[in-house]
């Protein structure tokens, strides 16, 4: 009897692919023997667009890459430009950025948790995850006025003063979240269906994970102790006390536990940041480079002139290239800025964690079942906006 393998397309309009991802699968019965992710459906040329913009005006482009973690993208880009210009930001800005970045991590992990669970058949999880996500979005709204594309971090500081009710909002969130995490664990951690669908699925060894350049939970899930917040501290992370969550087996279940643990650690960091938030200005004082505070623009001649000059012609940067990596919820998010000495970047390269993690998808699914491909896509935690940019 003649037998042959079958080529099937998964996606791009498949709800479990989390966007427009197509995977060309080669299957032998129910077993996957080959997989080839096809991407680019959402390519919008963000890197090219940023080349034509002044440094300030490139910040809104960054939100639109990883739209589930907008503040993390803002942070990476602003830190890179600050490194290029040699700007030191006030302590309060650092602490506020850390706090908001960690809220962003929780927000991104919550969306991941909800969608991953719904992919595997736990329908109610997404409702609970989005309920808590809403609280974080409310905090965003209080800060920058926007709920999703915040653009709240600016070069040298924040867009505006932290809102007076921030403390109340964040404390309310910190008050309910630990209890809600326990609820999630009750729903999923010992749920036999969830455990069977994730344990031993999409396994990658530590050595392979390093060779595939994986980062973030994908790398730590295999037991590699690598966290940029600890290894290459930025924005004052060295002042905070937290643990790096680690997995052991490198399977989807370990990565699930690891992400929940990361949420707990983020809560710890937020608590510390909130309790120890220093007083001070919300922007660095660097005339000609950092926008002056709004109050000054209304009352001081020089500030008004600087504001006008920065908005219309930007600022000149030194010639050279810098790389700044931040630990985004998906992994190592890096910004490489090559400057030719003018007021626009010659090249902005984003090191997209989901793009590089997605490249390893064939290694995760080959030899497994077709149904486990869904689990593998979920556990990689991709955002197609960032994969395609």
């Amino acid at each position: 009897m003649e037998t042959r393998t079958l080529h099937i397309n998964m996606g791009p309009q498949h709800p479990a692919t989390h966007g427009v991802l197509r995977i060309e699968l080669e299957v032998d019965g129910e077993t996957v023997i080959g997989a080839r992710p096809v991407i680019g459906y959402l390519h919008t040329g963000i890197e090219k667009t940023m080349e034509s913009k002044l440094y300030y005006k490139a910040i809104p482009c960054t939100d639109r890459m990883d739209y589930l973690a907008p503040m993390m993208n803002n942070l990476g880009f602003c830190l890179a430009v600050e490194k290029l210009m040699g700007i030191e930001v006030p302590e309060k800005v650092k602490w506020a950025r850390v706090m908001l970045a960690e809220l962003t991590r929780i927000k991104s992990h919550l969306v991941w948790l909800g969608t991953h669970a719904i992919d595997l058949g736990a329908m109610s999880m997404i409702v609970y995850a989005f309920r808590e996500r809403e609280m974080i979005i409310d905090i965003y709204e209080a800060c920058g006025g926007q709920r999703m594309m915040t653009t709240y971090f600016r070069i040298g500081g924040l867009a505006n003063e932290l809102p007076p009710d921030l403390d109340k909002l964040v404390r309310k969130f910190l008050g309910v979240m630990p209890e809600r995490l326990t609820d999630y664990e009750k729903l999923l951690t010992h749920n036999p269906i969830f455990v069977q669908r994730t344990k031993g699925v999409a396994v990658i060894s530590a050595e392979n994970a390093i060779n595939w350049s994986l980062s973030g939970p994908m790398l730590r899930g295999s037991g590699v102790k690598r966290d940029i917040r600890k290894d290459e501290p930025y924005s004052g992370y060295e002042n905070f006390d937290f643990e790096i969550a680690l997995g052991k087996n490198g399977d989807a279940y370990d990565r699930y536990l690891l992400r929940l643990e990361e949420i707990r650690q983020s809560l710890r960091i937020i608590q510390q940041a909130l309790d120890g938030m220093p007083e001070g200005p919300y922007r660095a004082h660097v005339p000609g480079v950092v926008l002056p505070p709004k109050e000054d623009i209304l009352h001081k001649m020089e500030s008004l002139i600087f504001h006008f000059k920065i908005i219309t012609e930007g600022f000149k940067t030194p010639r050279g290239s810098v790389y700044q990596a931040v630990e985004s919820p998906k992994g190592e998010l890096g910004f490489y800025i090559a400057s030719d000495g003018t007021n626009k970047p010659n090249r902005v390269r984003v090191r997209p964690p989901s793009f590089i993690n997605l490249a390893a998808l064939p290694a995760l699914v080959e030899g497994g079942l077709v149904a486990d491909v869904i689990c593998a896509i979920g556990t990689v935690d991709i955002v197609l906006g960032e994969v395609d940019r």
């Binding site: 991407i39 680019g40 390519h43 040329g45 890197e47 090219k48 667009t49 034509s52 490194k83 290029l84 040699g86 392979n208 390093i210 060779n211 595939w212 350049s213 994986l214 980062s215 590699v224 690598r226 290894d231 290459e232 010639r319 050279g320 290239s321 810098v322 790389y323 990596a325 190592e332 890096g334 490489y336 090559a338 030719d340 010659n346 090249r347 390269r349 090191r351 793009f355 590089i356 997605l358 490249a359 390893a360 290694a363 395609d388 940019r389």
Partner: protein, 171 residues
């Protein structure tokens, strides 16, 4: 660690280093394209250095800046040592006429997509790459968008009012 890497590079590959650069505390070496694979392999296998993690591959187009930079295309290899917690950059300048360099896929699986992206967006050819195909741009797009001579464009979408004379790309 910075000193260690510099000494190591100067001891073993002095003739391959074109120039060194240290900007904002970030060390980079401009190297000769032919030596790339050899240097990467040595960096990876030396237990004292342990550069087993290829963080990123990217490229820059320095059209109009060739005098300062040396050549038109710059490829940047971002290497990280997980055990030593140190990052540095290997950079290669490639000529405008024939930008071509050895692929790092024999060493790192992760280089596969990164090099495909550089090929697609910047048009650098990687010799020895198993599957050097387009990755982000549509199949019918000609050219490499991140090159400086590729203009920022937009395409008029097709609607009922212009479906008979398809719109041209406005440049």
């Amino acid at each position: 660690m910075e000193e260690t890497v510099r000494h190591w590079m100067q001891d073993r590959f002095a003739e391959s280093i074109v120039r060194e650069d240290n900007f904002r505390g970030q060390q980079s070496f401009y190297i000769h394209p032919n030596a790339l694979l050899e240097i990467c392999e040595a960096l990876m296998e030396d237990p004292d250095l342990d550069f087993r993690y290829l963080a990123d591959i990217t490229s820059c187009d320095w059209l109009g800046h060739e005098k300062v930079m040396g050549d038109r295309f710059e490829i940047v290899y971002n290497l990280y040592s997980l055990s030593r917690k140190y990052r540095f950059f290997l950079k290669v300048m490639l000529p405008a006429e024939k930008p071509e360099i050895a692929s790092l896929t024999p060493l790192w699986n992760g280089a596969n997509w990164l090099e495909r992206e550089v090929w697609d967006m910047m048009g650098i050819r990687f010799t020895g790459h198993p599957d050097l195909t387009k990755i982000l741009t549509p199949d019918d797009l000609k050219g490499h968008p991140l090159r400086k001579d590729f203009p920022l464009t937009y395409e008029v979408p097709q609607f009922t009012w212009n479906k008979d004379n398809p719109p041209e790309v406005i440049r």
